[in-house]
């Protein structure tokens, strides 16, 4: 084909999707519950098996 018809509409739609998604995400991040964030942050540090005894020889 020699050109894509009505191509002008696609960048506008894309920009709208992009802007709406990222603004939505920013709003969520600002309003999110601190307890949830703290729970997520600690996840790698809370994953030691409960039954393991200390193994580090100091």
């Amino acid at each position: 084909m020699s050109s894509i018809e009505n191509i002008e509409i696609y960048p506008i739609i894309s920009l709208l999707i992009f802007v709406i998604f990222f603004i939505g995400m920013f709003i969520w991040v600002i309003k999110v519950d601190k307890k949830y964030i703290d729970h997520m942050k600690e996840m790698p540090l809370n994953d030691e098996p409960q039954k393991s005894s200390g193994y580090e020889k100091v």
């Binding site: 084909m1 020699s2 050109s3 894509i4 696609y10 894309s14 992009f18 998604f21 990222f22 995400m25 920013f26 969520w28 991040v29 309003k31 999110v32 949830y36 964030i37 729970h39 997520m40 942050k41 600690e42 996840m43 790698p44 540090l45 994953d47 098996p49 409960q50 039954k51 393991s52 193994y55 580090e56 020889k57």
Partner: protein
């Protein structure tokens, strides 16, 4: 909690151990091949006088080994340890885990065999031919199925950010691999790209840059979000930042591919998109770096004593440096100086040695004592490794910067009379040979540090006791009861399938926007009527060029700069490449650009130059190819090649496959006669005849005033 039963389960450490051992074993191989390649660049004798170990063939062996074998196995080791623990569920299926492991090692072995044999597509980081591509897809699906199965069986409701990075990497690499590898097979070991010329270039670098993004970066960011907090024993600096930079990164990165094609025949609009998105990428990349480094705030005293943290700090810093340098290199004015030079090589190795290498070392130094329930055998040796590696990186990168700027500025310099100051390409090569020696020393230091690490890991394992199955317990996942006012995000993020779909959409957008118009809209590749398909003999020569990896040192894309048109001839037009499957624009000029070498030298010059480059070009670093004058080319695959190309749309006349061999001999006899007139005797079926035919064709179509039949 009243009424909840604790379910008991085990984490599989054996698979982690195996992936970890594979990481370091292949790492040593990959680094050694790298040091050999680096040596060949100042000592052509190190090509060892046979086709299998020439630079053109072992460069892709090195890149595939360090990317897929070293970094690949490291990713899997890191994921198979962290993912089950973050989700409180073992990896879904042990059979899949082992199929993944052995399948991946088989792929590497096949690469190690096929690449030195010259069985290659020539497309960077996608050199492996189609049967291996299929195997890669199958193993990759197994890996993904294992991860998704684990997610479904998880006991932790929420997905920690590391898992987002793992999932996005899985999905994107699958998409990239499938689309870039599309080809029509000619035979079991040979295929032709589904794309040609400009379109192939765009698809290749959409893939190539995103291999960096989604194989070398996002999985490692995921690993960073797990292993850095573990090693520092403190949570990540800002979880909110990790969310924001994750989505921005995966959306923006895809568009950056065209920054590999600035000032080439790629349409201008695509180049602009590549530049703009590459510059925007600084923000999410540095979000990752900031998050990593600031996690250590208040723990810098630990860095002084812990080699794991030392490696991590340098790794994250190298990531920040490379992700600033990359966008800078994407600016057209900087790119005009840097493209085709060793600056790009330096940039790659800051990321590869610094970010990927060092983070892998850190992770292994952390994992080994954990899995053997002991301390690291020697902190001192690990610290020594750290310093050797760091100094190795410096000895690698700094000479490369000097070499790049020296060579690039020499290429561009004009005398007062308005002529090129250094018209002979070789003058620019000779200046930088000492820099190549320093770079090889840097690589050797880096490799030596890794060898020390192997010793340390072996001794650590010996003094400990391996825990193959690590027990843990957690309550089963309760079905979620929605409470009031809950934001959509938490609902979405708890649904890993939906999350994966969303991430897939994010990564598809950039590719669709850049690739579809380039393929469908004819005006993006203006037709040139005098451009014809390659003749059968030239096609054979082209495939020989591909199999020897000539594209590793020679570009075929003259940029619209006066310094290039003076040196090489008319700049390269998009329409000239419509029958190039795959494209051979190249990324590096260790040797000169060849796009308009056709007709520049007599056939005999090419003969002597291939047999021993230094007879025609004193001081040249090119490997000798003496066997080309005596090796017989098997032209029996020619009819199949013609038919395959016809299926891909190359306009050979109908029935030409039965005519091709005859036409080949006519053209070959002509070259034999030319050579004979210069005192050289060869038979028409020899490789050198095909190579000469191809080289003499390059760039000559636009000089023709009338279209002629092949």
């Amino acid at each position: 909690m009243p009424g909840t039963t604790l379910e008991q389960f085990n984490y599989d450490n054996k698979i982690v151990k195996y992936f970890g051992v594979a990481t370091i074993a292949w790492g040593l191989v990959g680094m050694l091949v790298g040091v050999i390649a680096a040596t060949q660049l100042f000592l052509p004798e190190a090509n060892l006088g046979n086709p299998y170990t020439t630079f053109g063939r072992i460069r892709p062996l090195h890149t595939n080994a360090v990317i897929f074998a070293f970094v690949g196995n490291a990713i899997f080791a890191g994921i198979y340890y962290s993912m089950p623990r973050l989700l409180k569920a073992p990896m879904w299926n042990k059979a899949l885990s082992w199929f993944h492991f052995w399948g991946w090692q088989l792929i590497i072995l096949l690469a190690a065999i096929t690449l030195p044999l010259g069985l290659t597509t020539s497309k960077e980081y996608a050199e492996l031919e189609w049967p291996i591509d299929i195997l890669i897809a199958v193993v990759w699906v197994a890996f993904g199925a294992n991860m998704i199965g684990t997610l479904i069986k998880r006991r932790e409701k929420h997905m920690y950010v590391a898992i987002w990075f793992y999932l996005a990497s899985f999905v994107t690499v699958a998409v990239l691999h499938i689309f870039n590898s599309l080809a029509l097979p000619v035979s079991f070991f040979k295929s032709y790209s589904a794309y040609a010329g400009v379109q192939d270039a765009l698809v290749q670098w959409w893939y190539g840059h995103n291999a960096v993004a989604f194989f070398l970066t996002t999985p490692f960011l995921g690993l960073m979000y797990y292993y850095l907090p573990k090693a520092a024993n403190r949570p990540v600096y800002s979880y909110k930042l990790s969310i924001i930079h994750f989505w921005s990164l995966i959306f923006l990165y895809i568009w950056a591919g065209p920054h590999h094609l600035l000032y080439t025949a790629l349409p201008e609009w695509a180049q602009v998109l590549g530049v703009v998105f590459s510059v925007m990428l600084i923000a999410p990349s540095w979000g990752g770096m900031v998050n990593g480094l600031l996690t250590l705030r208040g723990a810098w005293d630990k860095v002084r004593v812990d080699p794991v943290l030392k490696f991590m700090v340098v790794a994250v810093t190298a990531y920040g440096m490379a992700t600033f340098e990359g966008p800078m290199l994407s600016l057209k004015n900087v790119n005009a100086i840097a493209h085709y030079t060793d600056w790009i090589v330096a940039h790659v190795h800051i990321g590869g040695l610094g970010w990927n290498g060092f983070f892998t070392f850190a992770m292994l130094y952390w994992l080994w004592p954990k899995m053997w329930k002991t301390n690291l055998y020697s902190t001192k040796l690990a610290t020594t490794h750290f310093w050797m590696g760091t100094i190795g990186i410096i000895f690698y990168a700094l000479p490369m910067y000097v070499a790049a700027l020296t060579q690039s500025l020499m290429w561009k310099e004009f005398s007062e009379a308005g002529r090129l100051a250094y018209p002979n390409f070789l003058e620019t090569v000779i200046q930088i040979v000492p820099m190549y020696m320093l770079r090889a020393f840097g690589g050797l230091l880096y490799l030596s540090g890794a060898i020390i690490m192997v010793y340390n890991m072996v001794k650590t394992a010996k003094q400990g006791k391996f825990v193959a199955e690590e027990a843990d317990e957690a309550p089963a996942l309760k079905p979620h009861v929605a409470h009031e006012g809950e934001f959509w995000h938490r609902a979405w993020e708890r649904k890993p399938i939906f999350f994966t779909i969303l991430a897939t959409v994010a990564i598809l957008i950039g590719g669709i926007v850049e690739i579809i118009p380039t393929i469908l809209v004819k005006s993006n590749v203006p037709t040139i009527s005098s451009v014809q398909p390659y003749t059968p003999l030239e096609l054979q020569g082209r495939d020989l060029y591909i199999s020897h990896g000539c594209v590793g040192c020679h570009s075929q894309m003259i940029r619209p700069f006066r310094s290039e048109t003076e040196r090489y001839g008319e700049y390269s037009k998009a329409g000239e490449f419509v029958y190039d499957r795959p494209f051979l624009w190249g990324s590096k000029r260790t040797g000169p650009d060849l796009h308009r070498v056709g007709g520049k030298y007599p056939d005999s010059w090419h003969y002597f130059h291939m047999v021993d480059p230094r007879t025609m070009s004193p001081g040249s670093l090119m490997p000798p190819y003496p066997w080309m004058s005596t090796n017989i080319m098997d032209h029996s695959d020619l009819p199949a090649k013609i038919r395959t190309l016809q299926k891909l749309g190359v306009p050979y006349p109908e029935g030409y496959d039965s005519q091709a061999n005859a036409d080949l001999m006519v053209q070959a006899e002509q070259i034999v006669a030319n050579l004979k007139a210069s005192g050289v005797e060869v038979i028409p079926e020899s490789e050198i005849v095909a190579m000469i035919a191809y080289l003499q064709r390059l760039g000559t179509d636009i000089k023709k005033t009338t279209a002629s039949n092949p």
